[in-house]
Symmetry: C3
Subunit: 431 residues, 3 copies
C-alpha cells in the first residue's frame, strides 16, 4: 500500500511520549482528569467541548454525578500508608464514594481487590452505578497485611457536575462523515486506551493538515455512557456517518484485529478488511455485541456502519485492565504502525468511488489517448490492466475497492487508473 | 444441550423391548399385522384410526387390495417343509398372491430370492403392484435344495379391504404443527423401522404429558402409499405443518444423518443441524428424492418443510432389508439417544422465537433490572453475553436459533436470556 | 459424457493437417492473407463475407487502412539477405509501412526485435496503429550481425481497403443463438490461433450436418477491431445471443481453461464448468478484462453471456507469440479432444431445458408407465434415480443442467429421463 500520507519514522516515539504524558492522570467517566486529558489532546487538534449535566436523561440511562478524587490511602496502626493512591491511580476503585474510617482488617477485607493469579499486579475495578468504595492492590500486598486496625481515607466527591466530550469536525468536500471514536475514561492503562488516544490525536492532526474528500468527526469521550450520551444528543447527525471506526488498544505487540460492524458488509468493513489483507497485518472478526462503544453505534435502533480497530482485543491478554498494562506494554513501533494503518484505511475510504464508463460498448482506444503502449504482442503493464479493469467494471455498480479486490491490483493503482480515465473523458464519477 | 426433558437411562431397555414385542408381527402396507402394530402403539398415545378403502384414488395412485397371510411353505417330496413362513416373516415375498401347486425345482426357481453375497441372510422382497408370488431364503438353503418335486403353499388373500393409518394430534398453544411421521409397513426388520416406531411412540407419550407451544401430529402409516393417501385425504391440513420430521432407522450403532427438506433452509433444517452440530452426534445431507416418505412431503406440489432423521440411512448398511436387521442390530443405547435427540429438536423448535427489542437505541441498563453485575472491569458471564446478543439481534429479523448459532452460545442459554429480557419489559415476542 | 456426436479418432490428424495448410499464410487484421484463410475455412462451412471499408467508424475505433505485403528483407553489404520474410512470416513487424533504404546497423538497430531469453525464437510483433516498420529475428541472428551498411526492403502497402469477416449462420429450431467466435488475424502461430480455427471449422461442419435445437453463428474475424466492427454492425442482433464461446489456443498439451463471462453465472458458464468438471479435463477462471474478443462482448455496454475456452491461456506459456508456437507445439490429440469438448458443451447447451411436472403432488406411479421396476426392496437404478430427480426438481425453476449438478447424475442420463417423462405425459417443456 503506497499511501501518500506515510507516517514518518519518528512518529512512534512521539506517540509513545504522548501516552507517557497522559499516563499519570487519573481519568474516569467524569471529572477533572478526563478534562485534563481533553486539554492535552486539544494541542493536536482543536476540540469543541460538550459538558452534559448530571441527571440528563440519555435514552435508558442518566448522566451520573461527577466524580473527583484528591487522595486515598490505607494506613496501618503505626500510621504507615500501606496502600496509597498517590503511588498508582488503580489503587482506588474508580468512582468510590468518600470514606474516612478506622476498621479491622476483617471489616476492610470486602473492600480490597487483588489478582491472586498475578500477585504483583494491581487490578482495575470500577463501580460507577453503585454507591460503594474500595481499594485495589497487589495480591502480595494483600497477603502481607497483618491483622489489626486500619485507617481508611478516600477523599473523593460525587456531586452534580457534568460528563465531558471533546469533538473535532474537519470539514471535507463532502458532508458525509468518517467518525473516529476513542474512549478517554480509563486511568493509567496504556494499551486501553492511551494507545488509541495517542493514535487518534496524531491522526486528527495529520488529517487536519491535508485536503479531505470526506468530513471527519473525531470524538474523544468516556466509554458506554459517553457514546450513549453523544448518540442521544446527536441523533439528528447520525445520518451523516458514512463510515465509523472505534479505535482502542492500538499499542501492544499483537497483530491488528478488526471487528466488523453489525451490518458486516459496510464499506468500512470492506475497506479495512482489504487493507489488513493487503498488508498481511491482521485479521477480521464478525461483529459481536460485547466490546467498546461499537456496542452503542451498532445497537439495532442505530445499526451504523461502525467497526472497531484494535490490536489484541479487550480480555484476550493477561495484562488487560491491570497495572501491567503500562508504558512498557505498548511500543513505539506498534503505535506508529497503527497510525499508518488508520491513515491507509482513511485514504481508501476517501478514495473509493463509483464511476460510469462513458464509452461502454467495446473498449475505447487507449493508445491515442496516451494511455496504452502501441507496440503490442507483449503482456500489458499493471497500469494497463488497471485501466481495463476500471473500464470493464464501471457500470455504476462496482466501486474502486471492489475492483481492486476482484483484480488483485492495489487500490492505489486502481485509483490512479480511474483518475487517468476520468481525465481522458472516459469515466464520470457517480455520487 | 441441557434440555429440560432428559430421557431417563431406563428408556433404552423399554424402547428395545417394544421393538422386540413388535418383531414377530408380519406387517405390510395393508392388513391385520399393520393394525396389530397400531394397537400396540396406541398403548403409548391414543391413536385416531383411518381406514382408506381399497380402490380409493389418491392422486396418481389407488389403494390396493388388502393383503393377509396365514401360512406359506415349500415342502420337498418327503413332505418336509424346507422353507416355512412360520420360522421367519421374510420367507414370503410381501404381497404374494395365493398359490397351491406342485412343481419341479426348475419351475420353482424363478420364484426364489436369496443373497449370494450374504449366504446366511434372508432378503426382504415385496411385490405390491404386480400379481406374483415368491419366497425368500438364505443362499445356503437355496444351494442345498436338491432337484425334485416341491409342494408350494401360500395361503394369502388379496381382497377388498383398506389401508390403515394411526394418528395422534396433541394440541398446543399454537395450532401450527410439528408433523412426526413414521412408517409401519415393514415386517420383522428392526432398524427399518421398529426402531423409529419405538422412538416415535415413546416421544408421543412423553410430549403428550407436557405443555406444548406447538401442536404435534404423530402419524403411523405404511410408506409411500400411506403418505400419498394421507396427503390426498388431508390436503386442507398441510398448511398447518410448520415443521416435519420423518423418523426411520434410529436403532443402529451409526451416527445420526439428517436429510434436509427440499427447501434446504427450513426451520426444522436449521434446528436439527444445530442440535447435531452442538452435540457432535451426526451429519447433515442435502435433500434427494430417494428415501422414505419425505419424497412425498417434498414433492414439488407440496414442498413442505419436512426433513428426515435416521442413523445409517437406507441402503448404506449391508443388513438393510435382510434378516440381519434383527434385534441384535439395534441397541438400547442408540434407541435412547435417538429419543433424546428427537426431544431436543422438538424443544428447540418449540422454543424458537423472534423478538423485538423495545429499547433498541443503545443498550438498556441491565444492572438496575437485576440482570447484570455492577462491579465491572471483568469479562461478563455467558448469561450476560447472551443478554447482549439477544438485545442486539432482536430487530424482528433474527430468531433465537440464529442468535444461538451466531453467538455460539447454547440455545437454552439464549432462550433463558430472552425470557428474562421479556420479563423485564425489554423485548416483545413476535408472532 | 456419452455424447451422441462423438469425434472420430481420425479427427486429430485432419485438424492438424488444416492447421498445417494455413500455417504459411501471412495473416493480419486486414489483407489478402486473412481473405485466403476465410476461403479455406469456407470449404468446411459456407461463409457469408462482410468487407468493412477503411475509415468506417466502429464505436470509438475506425477501420484502418488495409495492409498487404509482398516481400521484406535485410541484406548485408555483400547483398546476402540476412533476414528474409520469405523464410518466416514473423520476420516482419505486422503492419509495417513500406521502406527501401540503406543504413548503418546503428540506424537499423531500433527497428530490430529479438528475444534474448529465447535466442533461437523469432518474436511476434505488431504495430497496427502507429506508422512505423520493423523486423523480428532470433537473438542469435541479431548478435551475429556485424557493423556495416545494410539494405532494407519492406515492400508493403497500407491503403484504403477493407476488413474481412466470415460468418456462418446455421438455423435451428429456435432463433436463439450460440455464438462461436474465432480470431483469424495471427500469422504463422499455431496454437494462437490456427488450432481454434481448425477446431471451429470442423465444429461448424459437424453441426451443420445435424439437427439443431438452437441457431449457431460461427464468426471468423480479426481480433479486437474485428469483434468491435462486428458488434457495431450487428448491434441489433446481439439480443439473440443466448450463449457464446470465444475459441482460442486449443492445440497445446495443457488442460482446458474456461474463462467465465462477465456475468459469471451465465448458462454457458454453468454448462462449460459442468462439462470440464465431469470430464476432469480442465479448470475454470473468473472473468478478467484482458484476453481475446471476450473483452468486447463482455464490455459493460454489452455484457453478453460469452465465455472463452482455451487450453493454456495467452501469456502463460513461453512459446506464446513466438516462432516456437509452431506445428510441433500443437498435437492431433489435443485438437481432437478440443473439438470433442466443444461438441459436448454445445450438446449440453442445446439439451438444457426447464420442465414442469404435471403430476406435482406426490410421486406419480412410474411402474405402470413402464418406467420403474416393480420388484422393490433393492436400490433403484441410475435411470430410476434420474426420473425421481427430474420429477422432484421440475417446478419451472430448475433446468436439467442444475438437476444434473445437484444429483451428480450425468447430463445425458438426466436428459434421457426427462424425455421419457415428457413422452409419458408427466412433464411439459417450458419455453
Amino acid at each position: 500500500m503506497d499511501s501518500a500520507s506515510a507516517t514518518p519514522p519518528a512518529a512512534g516515539a512521539e506517540l509513545h511520549a504522548l501516552a507517557g504524558e497522559l499516563y499519570p492522570i487519573c481519568r474516569s467517566i467524569t471529572g477533572a482528569g478526563t478534562r485534563a486529558t481533553l486539554d492535552t489532546i486539544a494541542r493536536f487538534v482543536p476540540l469543541a467541548r460538550t459538558e452534559v449535566p448530571t441527571g440528563t436523561k440519555v435514552f435508558d440511562w442518566e448522566i451520573p454525578r461527577e466524580w473527583n478524587i484528591r487522595e486515598a490511602w490505607i494506613a496501618n496502626a503505626a500510621g504507615e500508608r500501606v496502600v496509597d493512591f498517590r503511588r498508582h491511580n488503580l489503587h482506588v476503585v474508580n468512582y468510590s464514594q468518600p470514606v474516612r474510617a478506622r476498621m479491622s482488617l476483617a471489616e476492610l477485607r470486602p473492600h480490597l481487590h487483588s489478582l491472586p493469579e498475578h500477585p504483583q499486579w494491581i487490578p482495575y475495578r470500577t463501580s460507577y452505578y453503585r454507591d460503594t468504595w474500595g481499594f485495589c492492590l497487589t495480591d502480595e500486598q494483600l497477603q502481607a497485611l497483618p491483622d489489626g486496625l486500619y485507617d481508611v481515607c478516600i477523599d473523593s466527591t460525587l456531586a452534580p457536575g457534568s460528563l465531558s466530550i471533546g469533538e473535532a469536525v474537519l470539514a471535507g468536500e463532502s458532508s458525509d462523515e468518517i467518525l473516529v471514536w476513542t474512549h478517554v475514561c480509563h486511568p493509567s492503562l496504556c494499551n486501553d486506551n492511551l494507545s488509541a488516544i495517542a493514535v487518534a490525536a496524531h491522526l486528527a492532526r495529520s488529517i487536519s493538515q491535508r485536503p479531505r474528500a470526506l468530513t471527519y468527526r473525531f470524538v474523544f469521550a468516556p466509554t458506554t455512557i459517553g457514546s450513549i450520551a453523544w448518540l442521544a444528543l446527536n441523533e439528528d447527525k447520525v445520518g451523516r456517518i458514512r463510515h465509523g471506526l472505534v479505535l482502542a488498544s492500538l499499542g501492544d505487540r499483537g497483530a491488528f484485529v478488526y471487528k466488523r460492524s453489525r451490518r458486516g458488509d459496510a464499506e468500512v468493513d470492506r475497506a479495512t478488511e482489504y487493507v489488513l489483507a493487503r498488508e498481511q497485518s491482521g485479521s477480521v472478526e464478525d461483529f459481536s455485541p460485547y466490546g467498546y462503544d461499537e456496542r452503542q453505534f451498532c445497537s439495532p435502533g442505530f445499526d451504523l456502519p461502525v467497526g472497531r480497530l484494535t490490536r489484541t482485543p479487550n480480555g484476550r491478554y493477561a495484562e488487560y485492565h491491570t497495572s501491567a498494562d503500562n508504558l512498557e506494554f505498548i511500543t513505539p513501533r506498534s503505535l506508529a504502525a497503527s497510525l499508518q494503518t488508520c491513515e491507509t484505511i482513511c485514504s481508501v475510504l476517501e478514495g473509493n468511488r463509483r464511476y460510469r464508463n462513458l464509452s461502454p460498448k467495446c473498449e475505447p482506444r487507449l493508445g491515442p489517448r496516451g494511455l496504452y503502449s502501441n507496440v503490442t504482442g507483449r503482456n500489458p503493464s499493471e497500469f494497463e490492466h488497471a485501466l481495463l479493469w476500471v473500464l470493464n467494471q464501471s457500470d455504476g455498480e462496482h466501486d474502486l475497492l471492489s475492483i481492486a479486490r476482484r483484480s488483485r491490483i492495489g487500490f492505489d493503482a486502481i485509483r490512479t487508473a480511474a483518475t487517468a480515465l476520468r481525465d481522458a473523458g472516459l469515466l464520470e464519477a457517480l455520487a
